[in-house]
Point group: C2
Chain length 297, copies 2
């Protein structure tokens, strides 16, 4: 259990917590209430140099710009068409720092990227992407960009009667086709952002209207809607996870990306969460020191 | 299995379907895809003379009218204060017949009935209601108003590897405190209507804004959001269940309330669904003929 975690205070804190809630005693929690929630980007899989979903969308923006030349002068199609990954990554980082100037046109384009198709057709596009897309710098398939220590943690919690959920700002229906294979988490336990869907003649179609942006203070709302229980274990890595961690009554874990050799080294977008981890005694995981391996597969 | 179902074509149709999807052959469905969805009011428990949740709300309207006399001249507080159940029941039936005149003020009052409390306080009010509220005419506690044959069906499906969900127009957080005891369905598998929630300082608070009305064409949208799979078994009893049944790729069951002696005899609000059951070959359950007992407990 937890084979890819280094022996030390972080691993011990996890083992200690799970030991207490599963053993007879004052901290015992019945199995049906052992709910664990995990952010996805930067917590279960790599989010740099940009969210994996942004690569999926980028390829679609490029297709759209190829089909419609007038789009090539507008962001984010301009960045997509010219291969400017930096613009896209910065748009998101700036969002977590409170500046949504670039996020707004990006969100509009995201909403229009895959609209007016059935949910099954959408899953088909996602599967086609993951079938051959590779991480731009790590030299591995995106389906091998999950963190092995987190997969070990999911299995360890399951073995101790926990039920694991993903609660991510990422697209719900973008994650679902691959979370079973990557993490052993089935579609019904994936909570995420979504466009609105409409029902017509036996089918559900995507629209270009937002339904949820499952981030920040919306994360506890969405997880309550889905689960109806307060989690007792939560893991995140950014400012967008703060409220989910606060809402959790139990163990809070924050991943610190400090491993430039094996993954990436950054705190942009995580400034407030790291500060709160220090004051509220959340457990901070150093990728560099606490993990013996980083990637699965 | 299915002990409280009368031997005959309805029971045989269920047994045949479950046999086919669980046995090797062309109709086999893997266990993780064996998703069954159930409407609640009129499908799993009694909805007459009015929805059980309306009684819960009615008591709250009465409290509010007692506290604020000016409310006593306005509907639905007037009906609640004077004990006029007919007005409330009619408001809902008229909705399913396309007339929302009375539903609008009722919905406004429903939204204001339990706002600005935490989700845990809301669950406390629900539990207090079910601890002593009784059905007005059947002479039994509301917690004994579930249908025994449907409980048998839930257990039968589970025993065959199905996962059961409630997908109801009723309030998600009204049902959740009692569905485990009544039906063996835990909170995380209850999909329903809800007011919006807001996160503040570690807690989720109810607002007076609608979030979802999980009925009609919204049912497939909400069940997809929750489950991410198309059901292969669905049960309902009214026009509000049509789209959920259409979206289901497999067995569709519609409860016909034709048992005035043991329950109620009505088709109001189910006209279109009964017509479609006939043309689309959905299985119609006659409470009178197909069930040996009606109520659990």
């Amino acid at each position: 259990m937890l084979e890819s975690w280094t022996d030390g205070p972080t691993k011990s804190a996890i083992l200690d917590f799970v030991g207490r809630v599963t053993a007879d005693g004052p901290d015992f929690v019945s199995p049906e209430a052992r709910v664990a929630v995990f952010d996805n980007d930067g917590t279960l899989w790599c989010e740099k140099p940009m969210y994996i979903q942004l690569d999926f969308l980028l390829r679609r923006f490029k297709e759209q710009a190829e089909a419609t030349p007038s789009l090539r002068d507008q962001q984010p199609y301009k960045a997509a068409y010219s291969g400017d990954l930096q613009w896209l990554g910065d748009a998101v980082t700036k969002h977590y720092q409170g500046d949504d100037t670039d996020l707004k046109p990006l969100m509009g384009a995201i909403l229009r990227a895959h609209h007016e198709i059935t949910v099954e057709e959408h899953a088909g596009r996602v599967n086609a992407f993951f079938a051959d897309a590779r991480h731009p710098t790590l030299g591995r398939a995106y389906t091998s960009c999950g963190y092995q220590p987190m997969v070990d943690l999911l299995r360890y919690l399951e073995a101790n009667g926990f039920t694991n959920y993903i609660v991510s700002g990422g697209g719900r229906d973008f994650m679902r086709p691959v979370t079973s294979a990557l993490y052993g988490i089935p579609p019904e336990r994936v909570v995420g952002s979504s466009v609105g869907l409409v029902y017509r003649d036996g089918h559900l179609y995507t629209t270009d209207q937002p339904e949820f942006l499952d981030d920040g203070p919306i994360k506890p709302v969405r997880l309550w809607s889905r689960i109806g229980r307060r989690p007792i274990f939560a893991a995140g890595n950014s400012n967008g996870d703060i409220e989910m961690l606060e809402f959790t009554d139990g163990f809070r874990l924050l991943i610190l990306h400090d491993d430039a050799d094996r993954e990436f080294d950054y705190t942009a977008g995580a400034e407030r969460s790291l500060k709160q981890a220090a004051t509220d005694d959340w457990t901070v995981v150093s990728m560099k020191n606490d993990w013996t391996t980083v990637f699965s597969g």
